[in-house]
Symmetry: D2
């Protein structure tokens, strides 16, 4: 969604609020450059809303612990195994809500769920070079909704309409680092409600995060004694963990909404410290490039390089340098080097 907005919009200035002012077409790299020049801080917004902006809440902040352990502690990464499983479309009589209309939502499970996985995976393992994927729509038409909100809805018996987005999108990936990625997002996994689960296997250990148990991190370290080695279930509520020290004593958990509170805290901290805020628009763009490469791959049934858009050479050239891996240095202080 972001790319369509930006690709068809020039950027000659940023307005007083620090938002891009785009009177006409401009290459992507100019957009990014303008954003970087801007005084003030560009506020990433949140994909939970329909506006398609940059803040990818769950992907970035919900896996903060993964970032911690991934920054060197797991060694060289071999595997990223990411699934985002839900089941709210399993019932064929569930109505045709806006999320199932490509005109309104851009895509289905792919843009809604894989976006979180990709953002988190980039954070942890760096850039993705190439992908191969497939998409499927299991239920091709659904009853038109009488009304709907959020993930729920109620169908009318009579009229039906076509589902124009994917119910599930899977892809394999090769990271620039040499790591292999397996990604899967679906709305048809019975029993999985918000199963945003990422497993990372490195040369020194492994880590697993699952949003359904977001106060926990599973961690395995090869440096543990052979006879006492196993996945640790870490309850990430000690004051040594990021963010949580602003909440409750150990063992007192936080919930989904607090990932947004954390995001806001990062923003306020970045403003106060004049520090860089991540994810930023470039992170959003990189994520979008992967999403689009997967979409092309599924349509063309072939491997696709990320960023090599045939009709958008500007996009390719804008990726002059690899963005630095995000270095965790406390809430709100991840700086692009």
């Amino acid at each position: 969604v972001l790319r369509h907005l930006l690709a068809n919009q020039p950027v000659t200035a940023l307005d007083a609020r620090g938002l891009p002012y785009v009177p006409g077409p401009a290459p992507l790299d100019e957009v990014l450059a303008a954003m970087r020049r801007a005084e003030g801080i560009i506020i990433p917004m949140n994909t939970q809303a329909q506006n398609g902006a940059v803040g990818i809440n769950l992907g970035a902040k919900g896996v903060i612990e993964l970032e911690l352990v991934a920054s060197g502690e797991l060694g060289e990464l071999h595997h990223v195994r990411a699934t985002y499983l839900q089941d709210w479309l399993l019932d064929p009589s569930f109505p045709l809500v806006w999320r199932l209309d490509r005109m309104q939502s851009g895509s289905g499970a792919h843009g809604d769920l894989n976006a979180h996985l990709i953002d988190a995976a980039r954070w942890i393992a760096g850039e993705i070079d190439e992908v191969v994927g497939l998409s499927e729509t299991f239920v091709k038409s659904r009853p038109l909704p009488a009304e709907s909100s959020g993930l729920s809805g109620k169908g009318r018996a009579a009229a039906r309409g076509p589902v124009t987005v994917d119910d599930a999108t899977l892809f394999l990936a090769r990271f620039r680092s040499g790591a292999l990625g397996s990604f899967e997002s679906t709305r048809f996994a019975a029993g999985r409600k918000n199963y945003n689960r990422i497993e990372v296997n490195g040369s020194k250990g492994s880590a697993v995060f699952n949003l359904e148990r977001m106060n926990e991190l599973e961690l395995y370290k090869t440096s543990d004694a052979d006879s006492a080695r196993g996945f640790r279930t870490v309850l990430v509520t000690e004051s040594s963990h990021p963010y949580i020290k602003a909440y409750w004593p150990p063992g007192h958990t936080i919930g989904y909404e607090h990932t947004f509170v954390n995001q806001a805290a990062d923003l306020v901290t970045a403003i106060a410290d004049q520090s860089e805020l991540r994810p930023d628009f470039e992170d959003g763009l990189r994520c979008q490039e992967v999403l689009e490469a997967v979409a092309r791959s599924a349509a063309e049934r072939r491997w696709e390089r990320v960023g090599l858009v045939p009709n958008a050479a500007d996009a390719a050239t804008s990726r002059v340098a690899e963005p630095a891996p995000r270095v965790p240095a406390g809430a709100g202080s991840r700086r692009r080097k």
Copy 2:
């Protein structure tokens, strides 16, 4: 704590705010009777603060799901197995914070943690008739604190003082219903942060709640087919579960603080509906009676009947009728029959 306050205080009126006005000594049953007569609603407060009032947040609202399944669905109850395990006193150099001073806190793990277990157990399985227990203080003296807040603190090396409360209190119980209870609270269980875990075994099934995974309930039903019977890990975020429908879509969890939000919602609902609010002062008193019976049992090394306080016959006679089991009927509508 409550009992000491009430037992030495008369109640002749309730003030404009609906709080008991207690100018001098009065029997407990008069206190309760006055509270029941009171116009308006008596606001249970929260044991998390130092005031020792009635609202026992975690016990009552955190196990709401247990209540649901316990109300008939599990059949006749045979076992209640309750543990509240923490480990913040494991380090002998942890300082002598107020919670370790009997004058300020009343008791240690017993009043702080068993109170939650007892309140939850009464909710689920009804009144407790008799108990036998033991208490232990593993670390008898600790450095005086330079400063402390909540569950953390920092000691001064030189001066030390005696720990005057229990580090752990365990007890066995017989419920009026015939069920057996096992209760254990400790601040010395390495690795357990807020392990308020209650397992209930009934003739038709079992249920387990653990505050460290407060968005889940484990549920076993004997009516499941023999070949497909097992503990279900229920993510209690469907709109059919109480409270949660006011929050997020399925799979989007809530945190510790929301148990207080739920408590406040119950209060507001009860005011709006003129309905009964539970837990009420009587629940607090009953809980306190069990706590005291256990304390007597540990001191006297014998079985103790709950409520039979030698020097407080009034307390005994005030228990004219068994309080009705709490019937779940949605937030804020549990009425004393």
Copy 3:
């Protein structure tokens, strides 16, 4: 069962096979002394059979991993929390099999299940000084069996008989070391099939073993970094773990029967090495003393000291010295110091 056999039997010799020859009544200490003098090795037998002999398979060999971590690695022990939960008596129409007849079985859940917990607990935490407990029989009479074997049976509709054993026995314990124990065995815990679960909390960490997942050990170490501390799920199939190196590669699990194979291996190894074999008859006796103290406590409704049998002063005096804690030194080589 053992005590009754031994208490009414003298021991003047051991026969050629190394088994005690008991022509007439003798004090317990003479029995033990004779056994210790015996040339050859006394073969512990297995409580799974009806003979009531000494080898307590699950308690001793099934928790081998607990022994490992308990031998110093967990520091000073504060808590032993042991439950053995089954549910095969939940159905009131289950017939009156031999296990429910005190004349044949000695006791119910207590002797059958608590025996395993006690043996394991002694192994890990040393001797138990005193206990307080309760027993309950939830279903007082059952249909007489047409036939039965093992844990299954089939009732006849017409005739019924009284259940003369306990369905559940719970007790609290104080260990000589200062640790506190909580024990519970029941055949009425819906959904628990063979839930022999022991949790140990020490000053340096905690460990949990559950027979239903006998190839795993949960282990928590306070020495882990604060931000990466959690219970490790150790799959005990590395060659560094005892016994397993005789089986399969890592990750390839063993089953219930292999605990007996391990027991036999210990015996053969002890014969070959002329080394001591544990558990031995004294372990069996100590376990029996705890069982009996709990039974007295449940009957008398009071705390009981272990070993202080009113009518068996010989038993008391036989406990001259505390048996040494079992030192793990590889399969078959645990020597009584």
Copy 4:
């Protein structure tokens, strides 16, 4: 491996023992036809040995429970998510054992581990139509072994040799039924020892099997009440489960070796009953076809149809009819319809 053996071997007869007698080259369909004509029973052998024959123990018998629930109970299948994760090659100094030499082993993680996943997936979800995959060798050369056996080995410092097999192979698949498959096998997943985990999502529920907890099955049913719906952890030791009734009472688990015992039991039963035995040679061939299609896909970087081997038209034509899905009807009685 099988295909290479068969493709270069004619089959004109079966010998007295029911084994194929292969004096010279013959087309694959003749081989299969000869095997089907054979009197007696063809004995599948076991891939654990180096002979590369047909019995795929873990894939077929270890997931017996998945088969049960998959046969209709889960409805129309949408997703098969299969991973076989190990970590024994994580150490770069691990020596170049025979499994890392393509001449001896055929392939690495792919043939060794994906073979199990594919066999199980076919059993559950039917034939696979097309695949796209990738392979990677993370450590390109290793020290030559002084000696090695099984999964262990010990390197010599000096001499090194090239690793000629894959360390990891991932692929996506489309099943003939419309289900989507995600497969991943690796020997570089730190902390995973024998993590043969298969998750199936269908229109009526989901099921998960993990060989590391082979006595359990996770099962989710959409028909459960909304407020009590969750993954059930089924301990598959009830007598209603297949095979287990020949072993122990409920809750008493079996181990890895018993999957071979079960396989032998199936064979003996099939001989006694003159019934069909599955998996048979055709199952082995179908599995091999998928393995080869994935290998071609990884080499050619494109989607590949299963069975369409350019230079082996005979193989294609031999798949005249889709093999019937295996119908569970008790051990040893799965008949090809």
